[in-house]
């Protein structure tokens, strides 16, 4: 009963109530020192929430927030000294943070991991030097002093009113970011974090997504910087240090980096926990350092992760996969009449050649795949099968030759553009992002095609809801086709291998593809799972799709294919219908390593691996 009632309360009610209670705190006669602490917590929360977008969701450690915090502070301070009002200065500070966040994020488009981390650390280190270069505006090493009091509409705010302003700003920022992260955009970031290759193969423009993430994560930092100036009325260049950077990472890890509300709790625990310890300054570096070590090693999901576990008991929707679902025998196949037609396109590969620094991975290969048929590529390891798939999906640029789909040239386009032209694929090792349900993972295939503006997403406008519904509908249909509809609400990353492969096929189908590439779809599956998968593949082709399958399991390939191409050392060795290939002596010798023998034909061909 309790669970049912909790579900009926809209999720935005809790933050609203917490926000209202927080706003009211000073009027209960609270100590002014406490009010100041809470004001600072609100400001830092915005900073950490911004960090969580790049660091937690997109998986890019960038300390740009500290630099944007400084920028917001200086912009607001300089403008207010020149007589601007607080609100207009803050608006300029936020815009400036967005612009600079975009510019400083540009290197991050090409860098990942340490390259990005180090450039952003460097950016923080530059702050004092930049203020010195612009001493006239920023006061150089002495900082800015005598910044006017915070006002709204010409009325000077007292400490308690300013506190209320900060809390309201924090609640609004958190609410907007929460809406943004619980959407196709947030899920795109998760996909990107899991695998940039997966993101591009779903048609997502990784550069655009990263740039948006950098800009969005800069905005709250700029706002926070502006507010902290209005609180203190002065700026010292020494307040923006790597230690501040370490503090916000620690707060992010403690609160749970992949969460929005977690930022508040992380900051609150760190600030309140260290505030009363008078000697803390001395030990602060050691404490933050150990904090990151312990937090990084033991609880990767922070307070928010713990809270979510508790919530799961109340709301069973996002449950872990049950044992029954993982090991179930056979999904009941749906009647063929229910399958919607999947209009495939004609794939033509002509004279495709790829050299890697002199190593000829693929040499003058020409193949065709037609709608309604399964076309297979077989060959030993290193014969160039996956290279061919990667060339078709645009991950590699061909040395010579070209690829056309429905008469239009694909080769030369960026991989995400190839994907948007209707090329969907699966991977040798299935790639399903963490923290997403099966339904969301499958629906992510449609993000590129029915994109919704960020404004519509954040404000939850009808366009956003419409797109969500149509994606979910398409995803359910694709899941039904592969017989996994009952798994829609389970955690995608926790599925068994065979199921993961079928979910990947569903994801490929959800994009309404004109060409489906399946890369070693059956490897690692047991016999039953292989049969299941083969019937799914057959059903897809019968619905009209163009399927190109790369596979080692010769028996399965023969059972499911209409046409087979055999590769050897980057060259085409043979092509034909399954029975022709089975009788081909050259294939038997090179690929199967034996003369054709009816009894042994069924043995998988990759035994020598």
């Amino acid at each position: 009963m309790t669970a049912w009632r909790l579900d009926r309360i809209p999720s935005w009610c809790l933050p609203l109530v917490v926000g209202l209670v927080l706003v009211a705190v000073p009027w209960f006669g609270t100590d002014p020192l406490w009010v100041r602490q809470l004001t600072l917590i609100a400001i830092y929360t915005m900073l950490v929430a911004g960090l969580n977008i790049t660091f937690g969701y997109a998986g890019m450690l960038s300390l740009g927030q500290v630099a944007m915090f400084a920028l917001g502070a200086y912009t607001t301070g300089i403008l207010m000294i020149r007589g601007w009002s607080m609100l207009s200065s803050l608006v300029v500070a936020v815009v400036a943070a967005g612009v600079v966040g975009f510019v400083t994020g540009l290197p991050g488009l090409r860098l990942g991991g340490w390259g990005l981390g180090m450039t952003s650390f460097f950016l923080v280190l530059l702050i004092p030097d930049i203020t010195q270069i612009f001493t006239e505006q920023t006061g150089g090493l002495y900082g800015l002093t005598a910044i006017p009091a915070a006002t709204i509409g010409g009325r000077v705010l007292d400490k308690n009113e300013f506190y209320a302003v900060c809390i309201i700003a924090m609640v609004i920022v958190l609410a907007l970011l929460r809406n943004l992260m619980l959407s196709s955009f947030g899920n795109s970031l998760r996909v990107l974090r899991r695998s940039p290759v997966l993101a591009t193969s779903l048609g997502l423009n990784t550069n655009a997504i990263k740039a948006k993430a950098f800009v969005i994560s800069s905005l709250p930092a700029g706002l926070g910087g502006g507010l902290v100036v209005c609180l203190d009325h002065f700026i010292a260049p020494t307040s923006f240090t790597l230690t501040l950077g370490v503090l916000i990472i620690a707060a992010s890890v403690l609160g749970g980096s992949e969460s929005i509300y977690g930022a508040f709790f992380g900051v609150a625990v760190i600030r309140l926990g260290t505030w009363q310890v008078t000697a803390f300054d001395k030990y602060s570096l050691v404490a933050y350092g150990l904090f990151l070590v312990v937090g990084g090693v033991f609880f990767s999901r922070g307070i928010a992760g713990l809270a979510e576990q508790q919530l799961l008991r109340w709301r069973p929707t996002r449950s872990q996969p049950t044992i029954a679902a993982q090991t179930r025998e056979q999904a009941e196949p749906i009647p063929v009449t229910e399958v919607q037609p999947i209009p495939g396109s004609h794939l033509e590969v002509r004279g495709l050649t790829k050299h890697f620094q002199g190593n000829q991975a693929l040499n003058e290969v020409s193949i065709t795949a037609v709608p309604g048929q399964v076309t297979s590529l077989v060959g030993a390891n290193g014969s160039g099968k996956t290279t061919l798939l990667n060339l078709i999906s645009g991950l590699y640029r061909p040395t010579a030759g070209d690829v056309t789909l429905a008469g239009e040239r694909l080769s030369g386009s960026a991989p995400h553009l190839v994907a948007r032209r209707g090329v969907a694929r699966t991977f040798q090792t299935p790639v399903l992002p963490d923290g997403m349900t099966v339904l969301e993972a499958v629906a992510s295939a449609r993000y590129a095609n029915d994109a919704v503006s960020i404004a519509a997403t954040v404000l939850r406008l009808p366009a956003h809801r419409r797109a969500e519904r149509s994606r979910a509908e398409a995803a359910r249909q694709a899941l039904r086709l592969v017989g996994c509809e009952d798994l829609a609400d389970q955690d995608a990353a926790g599925l068994a291998l065979g199921t993961r492969r079928r979910v990947e096929v569903a994801r490929a189908l959800a994009a309404d593809p004109h060409l489906i590439l399946l890369d070693e779809a059956a490897s690692g599956l047991d016999e039953g799972e292989v049969e299941e998968l083969a019937s799914v593949i057959r059903r897809i082709a019968d619905a009209g799709a163009t399927v190109l399958l790369v596979e080692h399991n010769f028996k399965m390939v023969c059972s499911v294919s209409d046409r087979i191409y055999v590769l050897e050392s980057g060259r085409l060795l043979a092509e034909g219908a399954p029975d022709e290939i089975q009788r081909n002596a050259a294939v038997a010798e090179s690929y199967l390593g034996q003369l054709p023998d009816a009894d042994e034909m069924g043995a998988t061909a990759n035994a020598h691996e």
Partner: protein, 287 residues
């Protein structure tokens, strides 16, 4: 000429740290963010050996080697290995944490004021090519070059070195070839930590012992390594010395406040235009 020489001396510090980075990077594929803190710790130990314990500065060599190796092993076991499977982000967080914690401990023990370190060489001053050169600087430059070149030869001529190179190419294949990859990794952490910590009495007279020294050195040595190509010690020498000279010239002609800004510009151009560095190679395979 004097600027050039000062640049080379600063550059040597970057080369030292960069070879430490390389050692760990080659053997375990990890960028050890805390590496510069080992050198800083070494300078404090060298200070303590002479001024707190009243011993000869030579004692600081084995002392630093042991302490540095022990901390290196602890780092690998406590903060690297447990998060190996969790991806680079977890590693980034724990390693930054370890670095900050080391820095915090040094701040607690030795406070924030820079301390002068007594080195191995006497306080002699020579004039070479019209430049006043201290014996300590000569020792620093000499030891750095010998160490970096020696490590380069070691990694290309000995079995263990070649095994490390193989591991950096492909961990799994190296394991299949019978290389004890985990032990190699921990060995590299110990060796890099120990060697850098033992450099305290050699670099200390030039750098002084300052707890915050690592903040900038980590970035500059990273740049030196990026210029040379990750994992390449001859590249690190060129990158480190080049960067030291670059910064000394900026300081002379434009003023200190431009050093970090222009170095940042250099870092960006290297990472964006030639991310594989001078000697590195690029990989194209993605799936």
């Amino acid at each position: 000429m004097l600027t050039l020489w000062l640049g080379i001396c600063t550059g040597c510090v970057y080369v030292l740290v960069a070879t430490g980075f390389n050692m760990v990077f080659v053997a375990s594929g990890t960028f050890n963010f805390a590496q510069p803190q080992f050198l800083v710790l070494g300078t404090f130990l060298a200070y303590a050996t002479v001024f707190s314990f009243g011993l000869s500065p030579w004692v600081a060599l084995p002392f630093g080697l042991l302490v540095g190796a022990a901390i290196g092993v602890a780092e690998e076991r406590l903060v690297i290995r447990p998060v190996r499977s969790k991806g680079i982000n977890a590693e980034l967080v724990t390693m930054v944490g370890w670095s900050v914690a080391m820095q915090g401990v040094m701040l607690l023990i030795w406070k924030e004021n820079p301390l002068a370190v007594k080195g191995l060489a006497p306080d002699d001053v020579f004039t070479l090519l019209g430049v006043r050169v201290t014996a300590a600087q000569l020792v620093l430059v000499g030891v750095t070059l010998v160490l970096a070149v020696g490590l380069h030869l070691w990694s290309h001529l000995t079995m263990l070195g070649i095994a490390s190179l193989a591991t950096s190419e492909d961990r799994e294949v190296a394991m299949l070839r019978g290389i004890n990859v985990p032990r190699l990794g921990i060995g590299a952490f110990a060796l890099a930590g120990g060697l850098l910590c033992a450099m305290g009495p050699i670099a200390g007279p030039t750098t002084f012992a300052v707890y915050s020294f690592g903040d900038t050195v980590v970035l500059y040595a990273f740049l030196a390594m990026a210029i040379g190509g990750f994992g390449h010690n001859i590249g690190a020498i060129i990158g480190g010395l080049g960067l030291g000279i670059f910064q000394a010239e900026i300081s002379l002609h434009w003023g200190d406040k431009w050093i970090s800004v222009l170095t940042f510009a250099l870092l960006l151009s290297v990472l964006l235009l030639r991310p594989q560095g001078l000697f590195g190679e690029r990989n194209e395979r993605v799936v």
